[in-house]
């Protein structure tokens, strides 16, 4: 029954050591090629969900499947190769001395040979328009450039699913738009965790709203964002003057 789905989360429960329940019976199914916006207030459980998708955190109850593969210790390597997580702060991701070495880190970990790694690095950097920066140290790059390298560092693993945590945060308007254009070109199944509702509307067809560790709304993103009562109930707000109907995707 779950064979054809990219992501299956079934009744996930997770509480942090301080007892605070972050996930409380969350269930979510995502089909291959879908782009889903994950919305919700701070502390709703969005990041916790993200870390369950590649087995960094293990559910205390419930299960996660990635393309039919259960996320368990035995499959952790394959799951991490399939699911690329792009974290919010690129400085958390880019730790190698040069951009090229960092983009090589993922594929090298998954056992690609030298030639294969070099080819993947080239291709991934090319996709984000950073191929001329391979030998530069990350601290010589602008924030927007580091953000692009961070996504290349994940693309080089050849993931089927991309999970992006706040992709538009801290970017100036032009970098924000350019980053969106890069994302729009990618064919992977995508989970976009964000507070930037117009950004999500521009990129995703479907939205789920998470609050208190469970899904409280799931549907076409235009419907979700047009539901004022729903947004207000979960601390979500469109920018002043912005309406879904005036937005041409």
């Amino acid at each position: 029954m779950t064979e054809g789905l990219a992501i299956v989360c079934d009744d996930l429960h997770f509480a942090y050591p301080d007892g605070h329940p972050a996930l409380d019976g969350l269930s979510l199914e995502v089909e291959h090629g879908e782009r889903v916006a994950v919305l919700g207030p701070n502390g709703a459980g969005k990041s916790t969900l993200t870390l369950h998708l590649n087995g960094i955190l293990e559910p205390q109850r419930g299960r996660v499947e990635i393309s039919g593969l259960p996320v368990t210790r035995a499959h952790i390597r394959e799951v991490r190769r399939r699911v690329g997580v792009v974290f919010q702060d690129p400085d958390d991701m880019l730790f190698m001395p040069t951009v090229g070495q960092d983009v090589a880190f993922g594929p090298a970990n998954f056992g690609c040979g030298e030639a294969e790694v070099a080819q993947r690095v080239l291709r991934a950097l090319d996709m984000v328009g950073m191929s001329s920066y391979a030998d530069r140290p990350p601290h010589h790059l602008s924030f927007g450039q580091r953000k692009r390298v961070a996504i290349a560092a994940v693309l080089s693993m050849g993931p089927e699913i991309l999970v992006l945590d706040e992709p538009s945060s801290n970017l100036d308007p032009r970098s924000r738009r350019e980053f969106g254009e890069i994302l729009a070109k990618l064919e992977q199944t995508m989970l976009l965790v964000t507070h930037d509702l117009p950004y999500a509307l521009g990129l995703c067809d479907r939205a789920v709203v998470i609050d208190r560790g469970r899904i409280v709304a799931d549907g076409p993103i235009r419907d979700v964002l047009a539901d004022d009562a729903l947004l207000a109930a979960h601390a979500l707000e469109l920018p002043a003057g912005f309406t879904v109907t005036s937005f041409d995707a």
């Binding site: 991490r80 958390d92 880190f105 601290h139 560092a153």
Partner: protein
Amino acid sequence: MSGGGGHVASIEAAAALDTPVHRLDARVKILGLVGLAIVAVSTPVGAWGAFAAYFLILGALCAVARLPARYVLARLAIEIPFLAAAAVLPFVVPDGLALALTVVAKAATGVGAMVVLSSTTPFPVLLHGFERLKAPRLLVMIVAFMWRYLHVIGSEVGRMKIARQARGYEPRWIWQAGAIGQTVAALFIRSLERGERVYLAMASRGYEGGTPTALVPAQALRAADLVFAGALASALLLVRLVVA
């Protein structure tokens, strides 16, 4: 980026030049210059001719690498505090003056060799050289992290300082100490948290504790590298045989 200090920036600028010394393979430079430092340390007291030869070698390398004398001397200044200890030698041991001068000469050779190494090799290349020399992976990685996050943490320190000033805190001199203590504490917590996030991001990309070999591509030595290694080795050997 600010905060990492002018030193790091000027070393990076020097290392970015393109001269015959810069082009040498990092492995050869590491072995050659560490070798020079070791030979210098093992040179007997008062072998002035040998020390003159070491300085000559370093001077020649600096000249070819186009490192300005002022730049090199400024970096050599780092050894001054250590030399303060040597300064008392003439007064407490017989033949102390020769001993003190020998300590100075050895220290200058060692630091000079490291200045040439670090100023003619971009840091990522240097690390790569150590990895290919089979230096312990863990140590190389720790140094790589230090270098990478020096800049991140440096700009964090800068921002914290500005935030303090923005709220009217502008003490002079020693009265900064209290604030510095708190900054260090806050920085420690932040760095700890960042370390955890970095680790999660690494694990997400398949990190399981080892450096993958594909990240350390082999590279053949070129003729210039062999010539440099051979010349340096025979010069050092000659100096030690003849002079000392």
